[in-house]
């Protein structure tokens, strides 16, 4: 990459990261993630206690036991996955405002008076989101390490795979948010767009499952059409929703399928690259000025 461009990316990403770290949003996201993870773990431990299964093997024994059986029922995996979801939603929201906020307040124009072009600008915003997610992840890792020490629950290979996957998920989420942001001129519009898509991404799979579970056989009329439509929508969402990329990876981890895991990583990277390129394209079309 052009050296001047990398200097610009470094300077802008640094400024944005500093601004993020000095704002409340990221800490609220971290706290929410940790609360949800704690509740899930608490429920898990409660379940064990209720069933009288209070045998607590050491982390090492547990890992060996499950890896010999090609299974990964790591108790930390689910809580981490939900914490990652929350962190990723924060990143998407933050990314969806990143471009439109600068355009809205006019600071983008001032940046472009200097040695900044659309590629440098979009990449800097992306790098900042990934770094911010890295900070969130550091908090999570610290928390789960402490929990592992205290509870003696193992942090197995699945946990670390999930960490790698979550970084790529953050890439998907950030690029998706930035894609939305590049399309709008106002922060308000970006946030509305973000909420609309999040609602679609969350409700379509639920609706699809509802129809598949409750009407599995031959149905006719409106129900058939509704089931078919949700099925198509679900297929679409499974490719455009960044969440589905984490889902694919998580399934691969749970099935201990390295091939599926690597495939999910490649898909995530492709998704990120396509949306970033799209963001740059739309950004160039929209222009820099308010």
């Amino acid at each position: 990459m052009n050296n001047y461009r990398s200097v610009a990316i470094k300077a802008m990403a640094g400024r944005d990261l500093r601004s993020t770290l000095f704002s409340m949003g990221i800490y609220i996201a971290i706290a929410l993630g940790l609360i949800v993870a704690s509740i899930m773990l608490y429920t898990y431990v409660g379940g064990i206690m209720e069933n009288g299964l209070d045998v607590m093997p050491s982390s090492e024994t547990e890992t060996r036991y499950y890896s010999e059986r090609q299974q990964t029922p790591e108790p930390m995996l689910g809580p981490l996955q939900w914490a990652v979801y929350i962190g990723a939603v924060y990143i998407t929201l933050s990314a969806s405002m990143s471009i439109s906020r600068e355009r809205d307040q006019g600071t983008m124009e001032v940046l472009f008076y200097g040695p900044v072009d659309s590629i440098a600008f979009v990449v800097a915003k992306f790098v900042e989101q990934i770094l911010a997610f890295g900070v969130i992840l550091l908090f999570y890792i610290g928390y789960f390490l402490i929990l592992s020490k205290v509870s003696n629950f193992a942090l197995g290979i699945g946990f670390f795979k999930m960490l790698i996957l979550s970084l790529l998920l953050a890439g998907c989420m950030a690029s998706f948010g930035m894609f939305l942001s590049s399309m709008t001129r106002r922060v308000k519009t970006s946030v509305i767009l973000f909420l609309v898509f999040i609602i679609i991404f969350l409700t379509v799979p639920v609706l699809h499952s509802y129809f598949m579970v409750n009407f599995p056989g031959n149905v006719k009329g409106v129900l058939s059409v509704a089931r078919q439509v949700t099925s198509y929508l679900n297929f679409l969402v499974s490719w455009i929703s960044p969440f589905s990329y984490l889902q694919r990876g998580t399934v691969a981890i749970l099935l201990s399928s390295n091939i599926e895991f690597i495939k999910s990583l490649v898909f995530s990277l492709l998704y990120t690259a396509v949306l970033l390129a799209g963001s740059i394209f739309i950004f160039n079309k929209k222009g820099v000025r308010r």
Binding site: N2, Y4, R5, V7, A8, K10, A11, M12, G14, R15, S19, F22, Q105, G106, T107, E109, V110, L111, F112, Y113, G114, P115, V116, D117, G287, V288, R289
Partner: protein, 314 residues
């Protein structure tokens, strides 16, 4: 330093800039004038690559912008008409950020020097959200100069400044120009342009209607030069003699002075003085009326007079 050839920008319903040929030479202070909506800011945005021209060419430092984008942009400093700041930053952080962006050497030393120069060093750790309009404008100027650019583009730099601020900005422009830097200023404060610029261009409705050294531009608005002559022993005969001269277009007596409109093709002062003296009068004072840039500007940008200007300059 800056060259445009047939630069045109069309929006869906209007033509903002039409066939603009500009040429700003190295080391000059170039005034860029025009009424609101004349196309000044659009031209500046095109020069900076923020607006894509519909057609035409732009060269900065003798190179096309699109092929030398970073190289050119790192050597240009810009103050815009509007103030856009990261309000969560302090003045120091803001300048430091732009210093990093431009890879300024001895950054802290330079920031300190600039903040002292605009008398805001003591407020360096305050957030920009608490700064007044004038203070923000000074920070914007410091930001535009922090990397020692060879070309400085100022779009209404004195907007909202008090007389002290206006003077400070004028001094800064002068100092930077003395270091050999080229300055392009777009401003509504014509008296400032008159005091600082070597050459001016006047844009109206997207078209360049006058361009050149300040004095010439002022002159081009006048069909005739005006001489104000103070005469002792002014007689009707003197007036008649003057009126019959081919170069005299009009002769009016006003408060014991003669106001003569004469052709602009020559300096007729000595001929007028001689004629008066030959006819028994005594010239005790004579001055050529000088037109201010404001008068010239008003005349040039008045659409009804466009044709007159063309005739006058032909």
């Amino acid at each position: 330093m800056i060259k445009t050839h047939k630069l045109t920008k069309e929006f869906s319903t209007t033509v903002a800039v039409r066939d603009l040929d500009l040429s700003v030479d190295k080391g000059e202070i170039y005034g860029f004038l025009g009424p609101n909506g004349a196309g000044k800011t659009t031209t500046i945005m095109m020069l900076l690559g923020l607006e894509k021209p519909t057609s035409g060419l732009i060269e900065i430092f003798g190179k096309p912008l699109e092929k030398n984008y970073f190289e050119i942009k790192r050597n240009v400093g810009v103050v815009s008409e509007n103030q856009y700041f990261y309000d969560d930053m302090t003045a120091w952080e803001y300048l430091n950020f732009f210093g990093r962006l431009y890879e300024v050497e001895e950054r802290e030393k330079k920031i300190k020097a600039f903040l002292e120069r605009v008398k805001l060093y003591h407020r360096r750790n305050e957030r920009l959200s608490g700064y007044s309009h004038g203070m923000k404008q000074k920070i914007a100027i410091a930001r535009a100069l922090i990397h020692d650019p060879d070309l400085i583009i100022l779009d209404e730099p004195q907007n909202g400044l008090d007389p002290y601020g206006i003077r400070e900005v004028r001094d800064i422009i002068g100092e930077e120009n003395a270091k050999g830097r080229t300055v392009l200023i777009s401003s509504h404060i014509l008296s400032e342009i008159e005091q600082t610029c070597n050459r001016v261009a006047i844009l109206n409705k997207g078209k360049l209607v006058a361009e050149g050294p300040l004095d010439i531009v002022k002159m081009t608005t006048q069909q005739h030069a005006t001489l104000i002559v103070e005469i002792e022993n002014l007689t009707e005969e003197i007036k008649e003699k003057l009126t019959t001269q081919s170069y005299v277009k009009d002769c009016v007596e006003e408060n014991e002075k003669l106001i003569l409109s004469v052709d602009r093709d020559n300096d007729y002062r000595s001929q007028v003085a001689r004629l008066i003296s030959e006819n028994g009068g005594l010239v005790v004072g004579m001055q050529a009326k000088s037109y201010s840039l404001e008068e010239a500007f008003m005349k040039i940008t008045d659409s009804n007079l466009e044709t007159i200007i063309k005739e006058g300059t032909a």
